[in-house]
């Protein structure tokens, strides 16, 4: 086994756009679930809206790339209002079912042949990169050190992704320390008590849903930046993986989701490289196909999710006194 190659591939995942997308989406989910106590199981829907909003406004309406990002943000706000207006009064697990269904509706509408001319249906969207790549200030070439060597286009994707990430982390950090954030945590702990203080609980929840949804949509944009949009990505499993990353790091924290997403993808990259290698002759998993070897990592994700929720529901960085899971 080529350990140098495996470790290099693993390290590379730290700076991969997919990891950035996961961090952004799990930060949105942290605001929803960790701070406001909203059980949003439709984060994949927000990501799909972000990705499609970005690509469609460039491809179909000829917008520049930065306007595409603004369209994604606007689309996420509209989706959050549509989703939240009627549902935020529902009990927690009902909200979970409604959001997961809404995300599926969004995905099926992007996937259907009926709107093939507009959405590209099952083949997805591609070829929306011109405006984004023209804005690249880096001269052509290949830069970097060791595993982190990329072309100037790839660096540009990472720079934009990382910049969005830093803005969002700062925003979440500032929001959760503001009076607004304290009210939100109050709603999570005891909604009735906050109501009794005269706060409009519904408005606070709606604001949290919108802001977190925009974070999720930005995650979708970063996911779409490097190559193409594939509708099979935005399935409910994506939502569950982001939940896993969030709960791993700590739902009611700002840096927990960042840490959780990075650990999630570093582990995924490591296992993707190691497991198929272990199925070769003479290795521990000899006798399995390499396909079976790589399926093992998703089985481990599922088991990991169960163990986290049972034994460390506050996550790596969380504080057990913050009651994220309402009884």
């Amino acid at each position: 086994m080529d350990w140098i190659q495996i470790l290099s591939n693993t390290a590379e995942s730290i700076l991969s756009p997919v990891t950035f997308a996961f961090v952004l989406a799990s930060l949105g989910l942290a605001l929803h679930f960790g701070f406001a106590g909203l059980l949003n199981f439709g984060i994949a829907g927000f990501m799909a809206i972000g990705a499609y909003g970005y690509a469609l406004s460039i491809l179909r309406f000829g917008f520049p790339w930065w306007a595409g990002i603004l369209v994604s943000i606007a689309a996420a706000i509209v989706f959050a209002i549509l989703l939240g207006a009627p549902t935020l009064r529902l009990r927690g697990d009902y909200l979970a079912i409604v959001t997961i269904a809404a995300a599926e509706i969004a995905r099926l509408l992007f996937l259907t042949n009926t709107f093939d001319d507009f959405t590209g249906s099952a083949s997805g969207l591609f070829g929306y990169h011109n405006s984004f790549r023209e804005a690249n200030p880096l001269p052509d070439g290949f830069y970097g050190l060791g595993p982190f060597s990329y072309s100037s286009t790839d660096w540009w994707v990472r720079i934009v992704g990382l910049s969005l990430l830093i803005v969002v982390i700062w925003l979440l950090w500032a929001l959760t320390r503001s009076p607004w954030g304290r009210v939100l945590k109050g709603i999570r702990e005891d909604e009735d008590a906050v109501k009794a203080l005269g706060k409009n609980v519904y408005a606070y929840k709606m604001q949290a849903l919108i802001i977190g949804g925009v974070f999720g949509a930005l995650g979708g944009v970063v996911y779409a930046l490097p190559s193409a949009i594939n509708p099979t990505v935005y399935v409910t499993s994506l939502t569950f993986f982001i939940w896993t990353a969030l709960l791993l790091g700590g739902a009611a924290t700002v840096f927990g989701p960042v840490l959780g997403s990075i650990i999630f993808w570093v582990l995924q990259a490591f296992l993707t490289n190691v497991l198929p290698a272990l199925t070769q002759d003479g290795a521990i998993l000899e006798g399995l196909t390499s396909q079976q070897g790589s399926t093992l990592r998703f089985i481990l994700v599922g088991i990991g999710l169960m163990l986290i929720v049972i034994y460390r529901p506050q996550g790596i960085r969380g504080d057990k006194r913050e009651l994220t899971f309402v009884k």
């Binding site: 549902t87 697990d93 088991i303 929720v309 049972i310 899971f325 309402v326």
Partner: protein, 430 residues
């Protein structure tokens, strides 16, 4: 996707059994026109008409999933093509084989995509000119969809009543319930690859599903209830379990679609568009019989009554001497066995077994349960029938690939307007 070694062996074994049975089966079935791929259970059928008149000899070709065939329509304008696997196919009609004076370009594309989803037959009709649909009739189409819908709804009901009872007795929204649907089908697939009688294999698979439910309760759910986990925590544990089980299925059967051995029997055709095999009819009969016996169990037996009592008020039930843990264990066994049976029947209906087949209907099961009223078994039954019929009949208006959208909108709508569902009691809104 690449097949696993064992998966390949299993599939080829099944394919051999399947082919042998179909060979026996194919003899008595009367052939229409030019039958292509009649040995396959999955059929793409259609009609070619210009201004209401059938077109004979129109050449139709079907391509997709590495398979390509063509056929010609018979004197009634009908054609049918069998295909080896379900999936998306492209159907194209040859312009040169249709009378030239017919202005057919005005009436939609000559090439279109069709997709197998829940049924073994898909329809690709070419009606050019006036008199569209008059011959097949909207009523016949509706009745066809209605029958398929009832059949699908009954399978959905088998899966839904269990989810609803588990929710009623333990307050768990069990996202792993759909994996028990897959479990039943996968075990049936495994057992039939051992060359045992297919009926015995189905029976054993249902029993194994029940045992799977028992194991879940003993190993996971009962200890967690003891530990005092909240409902949200339990729900996320069930998501983790769903992911684990789903990928374990993929580990064993790979990413492709496998078929259960055919049970034999004949295929009947009603008013042109509705084809029902003996398996379909038997499947409906089994669903109805099982659901009725389950209803009798719930209403007549002591354990059944205790189950409903716990669903109503767990503290009151415990105070009146009901052993809640014991009843919950029965509920897990029954719920999983019913889901497993639903999965096996659905594997014949779709047709085919895939590692993520359960996930595909998870939200439909939730829709059925919510529509009927969370925690009520009879509500889930009614909800499942409504959802099944709605999904199938909506294809008369909607494209087949968005037929679930209607059901999901109803799911959201019911939760907004009447969160108690059709038969739920008020106190469960929360």
């Amino acid at each position: 996707m690449q097949l696993s070694k064992t998966g390949k062996r299993t599939i080829s074994a099944i394919a051999a059994v399947f082919a042998a049975m179909m060979l026996l089966l194919a003899l008595p079935v009367s052939a229409t026109a030019d039958e292509v791929g009649a040995e396959f259970e999955n059929q793409i059928i259609g009609n070619v008409r210009v201004a209401g008149e059938p077109v004979e000899g129109a050449k139709v070709s079907v391509t997709g999933n590495g398979y390509s065939v063509s056929t010609v329509s018979d004197e009634e304008g009908k054609w049918s093509v069998g295909v080896p696997v379900v999936g998306v196919y492209e159907v194209a009609i040859d312009r040169t084989t249709i009378p030239e004076e017919a202005p057919i370009e005005e009436f939609g594309p000559l090439t279109r995509q069709v997709e197998f989803d829940l049924t073994s037959t898909v329809i690709a009709n070419y009606y050019f000119g006036e008199a569209e649909r008059e011959e097949v009739g909207i009523l016949a189409q509706f009745l066809t969809r209605l029958v398929y819908g009832i059949n699908f709804g009954l399978m959905l009901a088998l899966a839904s009543v269990g989810l609803s009872l588990v929710f009623g007795t333990t307050k768990l929204s069990n996202f792993a319930h759909a994996e028990m649907v897959t479990f039943g089908a996968v075990i049936a697939l495994f057992l039939s690859s051992l060359n045992i009688n297919p009926f015995l294999a189905i029976l054993l698979a249902v029993l194994a599903s029940g045992a799977g439910g028992l194991a879940q309760d003993v190993v996971i759910w009962r200890p967690l209830r003891r530990k005092g986990l909240g409902i949200v925590q339990l729900m996320i544990v069930s998501i983790g379990l769903a992911l684990t089980l789903r990928y374990i299925f993929q580990f064993f059967i790979g990413g492709s679609t496998s078929q259960l051995p055919s049970l034999g029997g004949e295929t009947f055709n009603f008013f042109g568009t509705l084809t029902l095999s003996t398996t379909d009819i038997a499947s409906m009969a089994i669903s109805i019989a099982v659901l009725i016996s389950f209803a009798l169990w719930l209403t007549m037996t002591k354990t059944g009554k205790a189950t409903r009592a716990i669903s109503d008020n767990v503290d009151l039930a415990a105070a009146s001497g009901i052993d809640v843990d014991r009843v919950v264990r029965y509920v897990w066994v029954a719920a999983s066995a019913l889901a497993g049976l639903g999965g096996i029947l659905w594997a014949y209906f779709r047709p085919g077994i895939k590692w993520d087949m359960g996930e595909k209907i998870l939200l439909l099961i939730f829709a059925a349960v919510v529509l009927g009223g969370l925690g009520t078994a009879f509500g889930a039954l009614i909800g499942a029938l409504i959802v099944g019929i709605m999904v199938e009949t909506s294809t008369l208006i909607l494209a087949p690939d968005i037929k679930y959208v209607g059901a999901l909108i109803v799911l959201i709508g019911v939760l907004l307007v009447k969160p108690t569902g059709l038969l739920g009691s008020k106190e469960r809104i929360g």
